[in-house]
Amino acid sequence: MIKNEEIQRHTIAVLVDNESGVLARVIGLFSGRGYNIESLTVAEVDATEKLSRITIVTSGTKMIIEQIKNQLRRLVPVYKVHDLTTEGPHVSRELALVKVTATGDKRVESLRIADIFRARAIDSTNESFVFEVVGATEKVDAFISLMAPLGLADVSRTGVVAIARGPNPI
């Protein structure tokens, strides 16, 4: 066995039948075999074919990542498994809703930072804002950490969605 092998992070796109239990199968596979899930998003992407797309961000050694993909392919309602990290350039985005409760200078500062991050205020009261920020995971992390000293009250994140660059579908 190769030991102490480098742990890599991979973004995997999985096309599945949108049927009951399919998400439980995927999640059960990860928990049952001890794989990591750093982020998982799922939604229907093709209503006529009833297909959903799951985007999973996971980490492991090269051998484990191969296993994850092969184990996913073994599931009967799974059609396509694509490792976006290894198959060429891709873009990934995450959306976060960030509630900041503040007045005075801190409130003004939060607006100023939101402007830098191109985050939009989608709800406001006299003592709070809800910002919508979109970007790569690192950008969203940075935005949230900058808001922390300014009265960060609540965060809701979608997890990562990703797609390959260029004209071809997966």
């Binding site: 066995m1 190769i2 030991k3 009951s20 239990g21 439980a24 199968r25 059960g28 049952g32 051998m63 191969e66 296993q67 092969n70 184990q71 392919r73 073994r74 599931l75 009967v76 059609y79």
Partner: protein, 588 residues
């Protein structure tokens, strides 16, 4: 099909089973499946075997499937009926046995209500089935059944469960024949020809090659076993088989080195360790085969042929992988070998066989016989010698007796050896033998058992008697959970915690109480007589052999050790250095 809309769900179900070639169902009735039993009562195309416990129904279907190559079929009720079947499903999943298990379910409007005899069986069995379905609409029923059989038998086979709410099997709907159903599930069966050409090149240039063959070849079918035998003989290379692979290559062939792994032969394990090319066909580098991964065949190139891509590079990194069905890949391998007019390296092969013959010369399976106590190895040898002319089907339970059976019985044909390999389920043998006997009424079917394992499904004796299934059960009674006792002796300082059973039933009387025949041998001189008597009786028989309680299974690779670190017998001092738990290697 003019009257198709007059069928109820239960009728649709049975019609679909018939169209899928089902002949026998192993099952147990209950409230949620009564409408199905009502329809079974009204027809005579499907036979039903009434078991005494649902776990046994699944093992019986496994026995039926593994001895015929067909898909086994199980029918049980909701709740406890379904949960009792779980061990059998997990067993079939581990050993890749094609099954369809039909479970009753409470009516759809009660699902999630904690109704009487409700269990979330699709949830419970998700990790221990290949796939499962909950049918919510009677018009999906026929399609689901056809797809379930397709999934169970295609690719790497496995158990598929269909959960059937009572209202669905009672409502009226439409039947669809199999020809109308298209499944998107299509595993790859043809191997990549470039990879196969590369493999042949590696095989032709090997100096110290070995074929390491597993149950995948047996699952692929008799054609795969024939092709394997042909190919191995063309090369003249040595061949070893896993526990699940026994019978894939003739056990009497001089190229066969015996089983490998924890209780494999010296020649098989040493050849695996020292080879320069390992040709794995349909085996999965199981931990019971590899031993310590750090020390596993360190200097070899490895080729791996498997239908399941997730088996490749899972435990052992290989140099060349061919994903495909063993029969297809072997056929292509033989074609390429012939087309390229490959020649083996004769002088290297001669030297390799000389080395292997030296290992063989150690005669690692020899044991010291006794004229006072029945040695378990002797009992198995006698069973083999006295029954081999009838090509018996052999089932086993799990433990020492199972390993001795694997070591001392020789199988020249596939599908005649049925044992619980992956899950190691005590209680597998008797119900599995029941399923074999249903499929092969004229055949000699023997369950080799231990006195502990047999008691895990002993209730099935009644099923044997009721259905006139003349299964022969040979119990090697050493009064211990033998394999547990062996590990306690070798690894846990001889502290025999809970491995001794003070009290056992009188197995002869027990057989008679069930309406079967009971025989007993207490001395070596009686062994042949009871085996002959057992063969002469056309009824189920229990033969109890009182065996030497102190006997251990050797050779043995101690947990955490490598193939070249075998313990050969009780006198071998290397057993005083058990393996370490370093490097994340846990002793199991």
């Amino acid at each position: 099909m003019a009257h198709h809309d007059t069928l109820n769900g239960a009728e649709i179900l049975l019609k679909a089973l018939v169209d899928q070639g089902v002949e026998v169902i192993f099952g147990y009735p209950g409230g949620a499946v009564l409408p199905i039993y009502d329809e079974l009562f009204k027809q005579n195309r499907l036979r039903h075997v009434l078991v005494r416990h649902e776990q046994a129904a699944v093992h019986a279907a496994e026995g039926y499937a593994r001895s015929t190559g067909k898909v086994g079929c199980v029918l049980v009720t909701s709740g406890p009926g379904a949960t009792n079947a779980v061990t059998g499903l997990a067993d079939a999943q581990c050993d890749s046995v094609p099954l369809v298990c039909l479970t009753g379910q409470v009516p759809t409007h009660l699902i999630g209500n904690d109704a009487f005899q409700e269990a979330d069986i699709t949830g419970i069995t998700r990790p221990c089935t290949k796939h499962n379905y909950l049918v919510k609409n009677v018009n999906d029923l026929a399609r689901t059944v056809h797809e379930a059989f397709h999934v169970a038998r295609s690719g790497r086979p496995g158990p598929v469960l269909i959960d059937l709410p009572k209202d669905v099997i009672q409502s009226k709907g439409e039947y669809q024949p199999p020809s109308k159903v298209k499944s998107k599930y299509k595993p790859q069966v043809k191997g990549d020809i470039k990879a196969i050409e590369k493999a042949i090149e590696m095989i032709a240039h090997a100096k110290r090659p070995i074929f390491y063959v597993g149950g995948g070849v047996i699952n692929s079918g008799p054609a795969a076993c024939q092709l394997l035998t042909q190919f191995v003989r063309m090369t003249g290379y040595p061949c070893t088989l896993t526990l699940m692979g026994l019978g894939a290559f003739p056990g009497s062939d001089p190229l066969f080195l015996g089983m490998l792994g924890m209780h494999g032969t010296v020649e098989a394990n040493m050849a695996m360790h020292d080879c320069d090319l390992m040709i794995n066909i349909g085996a999965r580098f199981d931990d019971r085969v590899t031993g310590k991964l750090d020390g596993f065949s360190p200097d070899s190139k490895k080729i791996h042929v498997d239908i399941d891509p997730s088996s490749i590079n899972k435990n052992v990194v290989v140099d060349l992988a061919v994903v495909g069905d063993c029969a297809h890949v072997l056929e292509d391998m033989i074609k390429v070998w012939k087309a390229k007019q490959c020649r083996v390296n004769e002088s290297a092969l001669k030297a390799w066989w000389k080395q292997i013959d030296a290992w063989r010369g150690l005669k690692c399976l020899e044991f010291e016989n006794s004229n006072k106590l029945i040695k378990p190895q002797y009992a198995i040898q006698r069973v083999y010698e006295l029954t081999r002319h009838r090509n018996p089907y052999i089932c086993t339970e799990v433990g020492q007796h199972q390993m001795w059976a694997a070591q001392y019985l020789k199988f020249d044909l596939p599908h005649h050896w049925l044992t619980s390999g992956g899950l190691g389920t005590m209680g597998y043998g008797l119900p599995s033998a029941m399923g074999v006997q249903m499929a092969h009424p004229e055949a000699l079917v023997i369950d080799i058992a231990g006195e502990a394992s047999i008691q895990m499904n002993i209730q099935e004796m009644a099923t044997l008697v009721q259905h006139r299934l003349p299964v022969k059960i040979v119990i090697l009674n050493n009064q211990y959970l033998g394999m547990v006792r062996q590990w306690q002796e070798l690894i846990h300082g001889g502290r025999y915690a809970e491995s001794h059973m003070d009290h056992h039933p009188d197995f002869v009387k027990l057989a008679e109480a069930f309406g079967a025949v009971g025989l007993r041998a207490e001395q070596p001189g009686q062994v042949d007589d009871v085996i002959k008597e057992m063969m002469a009786v056309d009824r189920p028989v229990i033969v109890e052999m009182r065996t030497d309680a102190s006997e251990n299974v050797f050779p043995m690779i101690m947990p955490g050790m490598a193939h070249n670190e075998m313990v050969l017998g009780p006198e071998d001092k290397s057993r005083d250095n058990p393996g370490s738990e370093e490097d994340g290697m846990v002793l199991v």
